[in-house]
Amino acid sequence: MLKVDDIDVYYGNIQALKGLSLEVNEGEIVTLIGANGAGKSTLLQTLSGLQKPKRGSVEYLGESIAGKAAQSIVKAGISHVPEGRRVFANLSVEENLDLGAYLRKDKEGIAKDLAHVYELFPRLLERKKQQSGTLSGGEQQMLAMGRAIMAKPKLLLLDEPSMGLAPLMVQNIFTIIETINKEGTTILLVEQNAHMALSVANRAYVLETGKIVLAGTAKELQESDEVRAAYLGGL
């Protein structure tokens, strides 16, 4: 479904991604783990059109999307839930969800998906008129995910959904990630919480300073000594 081949991404003179390649197949949950500053967010931003690769190719459903505008990438079916949620704090919960469906014209489909989002996240329904800036971190994460689902994506990019959340909320979010996947959405999940991420993923990549250093099934990585030592706290 998604094939990233040998991309370089720069911020000015700083190279954030160095010849990175990875693949995501339809129906999978693929996780990308790595320490702070490894380049995880940069990769997702490149996939969603916020950054342009200087070299290399990004193919999605057989078409090149490298360097395309964010708008056409959303239209093609990739939704990105950014690090730190980035909800529109000055808009209500429901307005945020409306904006998720910004490019869609099928009124009935939108209404159906809105109902579905409220089913997945009943808390959002309770707070639909509330300014989203007043939501808790966990609720904002739900909103950011709900907003992305409103675009009806085929591929969902999640950037550290567990960041800063209480353990119970992390559980909750990961359960929903699995549900969304079972309903047919392919997921690329970026996490520092390797333990949780590997427990839901099919396959995984480990990113270090802009390069993939390890790849395999989630199970293989859970059992790898390097991953245990570096990312699972020696568990």
Partner: protein, 312 residues
Amino acid sequence: MGASEFALFFSVKEAVKGVKVMEWIQQLINGVSLGSIYALIALGYTMVYGIIKLINFAHGDVFMIGGFIGFYAMVRWDMGFIPALLLAMILCAVFGVIIERVAYKRLRNSTRIAALITAIGVSLLIEYTVVFFRGAQPEGYPDLFVEKNITILGVQISKTSILILAVSIVLMLLLQFIVQKTKIGKAMRAVSHDADAARLMGINVDNTISATFAIGSALAGAAGVIFGVYYTKVDPFMGIIPGLKAFVAAVLGGIGIIPGAMVGGMLLGVVETFVSALGFSLWRDAAAFIILILILIFRPEGIFGKNTREKV
């Protein structure tokens, strides 16, 4: 209190006593209607600031262009007030978008001071282009009403004031509707909060910024026409002082905040009118700048602002 403050205090007190209640109501209405002109201009300042953090100093000149379009439409092309108003709004909207696309768009990632200097340059360019093509002499607006005043419940009110107030209120309600309820309004609010997050929704940020300029400029165009009706004349430099005052109004309400611009404009209009009514008409223009200084010292975030707001 020193002697001179005492004297000032008593002269204000005398002045207040000298004006009757009915006249106060009249002055209040005049103030609100003048203020609604400031408010219409302030809305453009505040919306543009909200979305690209630029103080668009050429905004007062869009207002001036609106005033001239209204003049040509009514006097030269014999159009009625409403068609002239609409024409001025449409042409100013287009003009505002051209300014944004030609002058400001490429500066989005440069320093604020560069953008600010550009805005001042654009302002001067517009003013002197108008002077170049038609000279600096003013033009007189037609009188819209033969009978100037009407009396409501014993209060004499100028019809012009009522017209200005009515136009402003309709436009402000329309603006509120656009910003709160429509898709482009939601996009504008989203972009002003977080442009990259808005891109991730598929929002075209460039077009949304242009739409903001279009709407703000249309309001300034409308303000230009009703200003012409109010003061009965327009000239190429008429945008400077009202532009600055509208900027003060936007800061007073809290820059970037739409209801703030409305309230700030109205408040400034009322203060100015009262200052004149009390017999200090020489201080009228100074009032705005005294307010600006006070607000910057005591509440730089403005009436509606949160105190974390960034300042220019």
